[in-house]
Amino acid sequence: MTAFQRIENFIIGLGMIVIAVLLAWSPEDGFIAIATILSVSMTAMGVRYLYYYATMARHMVGGKAVLYLGVIVLDFGVYSMTLIDEPRIYIVVDLIAVHTFWGIVNLLKGFREKGYGASMWKLDVGQGIGNLMMAAASLVFLHSPHILVDLYSAGLAYSGILKVISALRRTEIVYIQ
């Protein structure tokens, strides 16, 4: 990682943590804010696909599909901004999908590690259970905006912390002749 990438990762990670705290601090505004974040993210994703096509995918066999996807996602992102006053569905779908997926992945990895006798299997199984509980909690508290915002904020803060740690990690490989 270059020094710039480290600083970038560090600032983004820190920003995610700050946003998570702010969201949890003010759940009423937080609800709308999260929906806005998701809409803006989708729009940004559309732009990113178009950039990806221009710089990389135009050289590949079948790369036009990236161009089409970019246009569609961008269009959908812009459209979804008009629905921000109905934000619950965004948050619930995001929470359930993300946490269920990572919960299953963590569990599979944990059980595989257990088979190898690796001590970290408990950590992964614990993370898997935690993720599945988050997904279940999102369903149970479907009608409680405050708790949904808290759950979303917790996930955001966790990702932010991982980004900060990643920015501080040693990554160089030594070459000895």
């Binding site: 990682m1 270059t2 990438q5 990762n9 990806y52 710089t55 990389m56 995918a57 050289h59 590949m60 066999v61 079948g62 790369g63 599909a65 990236v66 996807l69 992945v105 963590n106 599979l108 990895k109 595989r112 590690e113 190898y116 006798g117 690796a118 001590s119 970290m120 992964d124 991982l162 980004k163 990643s166 990690r169 040693r170 990554t171 160089e172 490989i173 030594v174 070459y175 000895i176 002749q177």
Partner: protein, 391 residues
């Protein structure tokens, strides 16, 4: 490639290169172990995790595809399974630097890095020799794919046809059908193959290596034609039986060099003469339509040496490693393999970095800047000390 070639065929190549049965088995074990030495395994034996030579499916599912994560993946897969063919390859047309970096990671046999790999293993013991044979063999099987996640390089599309040999000579063609259910085994007779999911994302782990083409590059009998994502709509015909025979004869040549029977290892040289008396038999094994040719290679190995080749047992050397004291671990079988793996990873990362390509991360030259970076590599200092090279 799989156990059949990395373990049993490597044993046969080592024996034909002149190694006695026991040493040939250790070389074969090390070659196959390169497909097993994951971080999860290393954690289980309390070994240095930076020495991982592969990643389990479960590790890949959980891997972070941020910059350090991608560099880590690239270091592992490019160093041990998809050795880049030409780090300065010219890319047709006007392209971005990012695209060129990915393009130059495409694996192929007889690149400069192969020479470096084999020479690095010289005088470093049977474990390093076995590891180098794994890398060498994979350059043939995995050619045209890159050891870094890349949609624009590693993706394949529906234009993928198997060439099935006919009894009267010639080939018939049939479209290969890919499914993405990891629980369903390949159906060779029906031409159904399990491959990774289509993900239109440059850094998705689904686009690592030959995942999109499933196990087809790993079957010695397979011939196919397809359009690689990077190939500007130029069709490629892959002839595995021919490539695998080249790999086998090149392994013998390289092992003769590592054993001291040749003064130099030069790319694109093969020990045709050593394999010639058995060519018909070897080609028959390579051509036979079967998902696993282990039994055939095992029987061939027994005819060569007159001795039974032990089945591959992953934990064979674990008690020795676990039972050794901290100072003595590097002298154990697994300890030496770990040192060889660290050295190979360090060398390949350095060459990629020096070519101006940051996909494998940063490399710090010890001679210029002293020790910096991931602590596990400190072991290499000892590995490079005079007097320890011949162990």
């Amino acid at each position: 490639m799989q156990l059949d070639f990395h373990y049993y065929a490597t044993y046969c190549a080592a024996f034909l290169a002149g190694y006695p049965h026991e040493e040939a088995q250790q070389i074969a074990y090390s070659a196959q172990f390169t497909d097993c030495c994951s971080r999860t395994f290393l954690a289980g034996i309390r070994g240095p995790r930076a020495a991982a030579t592969t990643q389990l499916q479960t590790e890949l599912m959980d891997v972070r595809t941020d910059i350090p994560g991608l560099q880590d993946i690239t270091r592992i897969w490019a160093s041990f399974h998809f050795l880049p063919y030409d780090l300065q390859a010219e890319v047709p047309g006007r392209t971005t630097r990012k695209y060129r970096s990915k393009y130059r990671m495409i694996c192929g046999p007889n690149g400069d890095l192969l020479e470096e790999t084999v020479r690095l293993a010289a005088g470093k013991g049977l474990q390093a020799a076995g590891l180098a044979m794994h890398v060498l063999a994979d350059t043939w099987a995995h050619r045209y794919f890159a050891g870094t996640p890349s949609f624009v390089i590693n993706n394949i599309n529906y234009y993928f046809y198997e060439l099935v040999p006919q009894d009267g000579g010639g080939f018939s063609e049939r479209a290969v059908r890919f499914n993405s259910n990891p629980a369903s085994p390949d159906d060779i007779e029906e031409g159904i193959c399990t491959a990774t999911l289509y993900r239109m994302s440059e850094s998705s782990i689904m686009n690592l290596g030959h995942g999109r083409a499933g196990h087809l590059p790993d079957y010695s009998f397979m011939r196919y034609r397809y359009l690689p994502a990077w190939g500007d709509y130029q069709e490629i015909r892959k002839d595995n039986p021919s490539d695998y025979y080249h790999a086998f004869c090149q392994m013998i040549f390289a092992l003769q060099y590592l054993r001291g029977q040749r003064d130099h290892f030069v790319k694109d040289r093969y020990a045709w003469d050593a394999a010639a008396p058995y060519e018909t038999e070897i080609r028959e094994i390579l051509e036979r339509r079967q998902a696993d040719a282990s039994e055939d290679w095992k029987a061939f190995g027994k005819r060569l040496s007159g001795k039974e080749i032990e089945d591959f047992e992953l934990d064979k050397y674990v008690p020795e490693y676990m039972g050794a004291g901290e100072e003595a671990k590097d002298e154990t079988f697994l300890g030496r393999f770990i040192l060889a793996a660290l050295a190979q990873k360090s060398m390949v990362t350095n060459k990629i970095y020096k070519s101006g390509n940051l996909l494998a991360g940063f490399s710090v030259d010890f001679a210029e800047k002293g020790f910096q970076g991931i602590r596990d590599f400190r072991k290499l200092l000892k590995f490079a000390e005079p007097g320890t090279k011949e162990k």
